[in-house]
């Protein structure tokens, strides 16, 4: 799937440029700049991800994830039925979703990655996503956040009279997106079989 989307996307871009007689040099430059940008993004990510992975490991050793899991387990077992017998993966999923809810994007990504790795350990087909992986993806891509700190900061900087006025709207819109996503996830996982 990704092979087709990516390959065709790149080809169409280059083809369109030739079709309309666009700036070939600019296109070549943007191609060359990609490496630089990807490196900058990766370097920027290493610090925060490493920090929160370290913190997460301490929290796990201290039994904090277990405590959190005890409270939320009933809800998440419904959302992730295949993880019923995989305590570690389920706990990581729960902490990832909690971090996302609190708007701690930097903390959420390492937890999410570790949850994916824990699920991958039990995955019989290593190159194919499991149902639980797709559900976790939906919960992360919809961006349900109680306090969207980045946008509020952006509005504050732009001189808004009430930077937080959008908080109810963002929560409602993202909850609607999440509901649609979870329903679609359930329906599609049936016939999009492995």
């Amino acid at each position: 799937m990704m092979n087709t989307i990516w390959g065709v996307g790149v080809l169409i871009s280059i083809g369109y440029m030739f079709l309309v007689g666009g700036d070939a040099q600019a296109l070549a430059n943007s191609l060359a700049r990609s490496g630089e940008q990807a490196l900058a993004l990766t370097l920027g990510l290493i610090g925060t991800v490493a920090f929160w992975s370290g913190m997460n490991r301490v929290a796990e050793a201290a039994g904090l994830l277990k405590a959190l899991g005890f409270l939320l387990r009933p809800l998440f077992v419904r959302l992730f039925p295949s993880l019923r017998r995989e305590d570690r993966a389920l706990r990581l999923v729960m902490s990832n979703v909690c971090a996302t809810l609190l708007g701690l994007g930097n903390a959420a990504t390492p937890l999410g990655l570790e949850a994916m790795r824990a699920m991958q350990e039990q995955n019989p087909r290593q190159d194919t996503a499991t149902d639980a992986m797709c559900t976790l993806i939906v919960m992360n891509t919809t961006g349900v956040t109680v306090f969207p700190a980045t946008v509020v900061g952006l509005r504050l900087a732009a001189g808004s009279e009430n930077p937080m006025s959008i908080i109810g709207a963002t929560l409602l819109a993202s909850l609607f997106g999440l509901s649609v996503g979870l329903i679609a996830d359930r329906l599609l996982s049936r016939w999009w079989s492995r």
Partner: protein, 167 residues
Amino acid sequence: MILLIICAVILATGLWRGVSVFDEFVLGAKQGALIVVRLFPYVLAMILAVNLLEASGLMALLVHHVGNVVQGLGMPSEVVPLALLRPLTGSGSLAVTHGILAEHGPDSFVGLLASTIQGSNDTTLYVLTVYFGAIGVKKMRHGLVVGLLSDMASLFAAVAIVHHLFN
């Protein structure tokens, strides 16, 4: 603020429970750094594709045509680039939101809508690439479709909600 409290609680509980907090932290940080390094090629591939879409003028063409369609649905054409970029690139959509707020004002209808779109979504393609890339899963099955579907849902919910609340 919240972050500091969380760190303090984690470390305090660790020390109290007799966890070797330094050793555990270093081990965890090492794993985290390795995850990101393994991620680099996937990030490169995504950035390359988005850059080409923009530099070739295809993105502008898309914005133009999509703009004509969605205006009928109550979405002003000023936010169309944002709606298209939001699932693709986090830094890109942040820059577009910043521009809209500066041009139209954060408390205008367009400004409120842009803020809501920016705040009620996440970078779906980035999350997909990063999460599946880190563990080497190549067949995402319905992951991509469902991710984009929920993006569309929250996008149009944002338009309806901002119309209702602020207009």
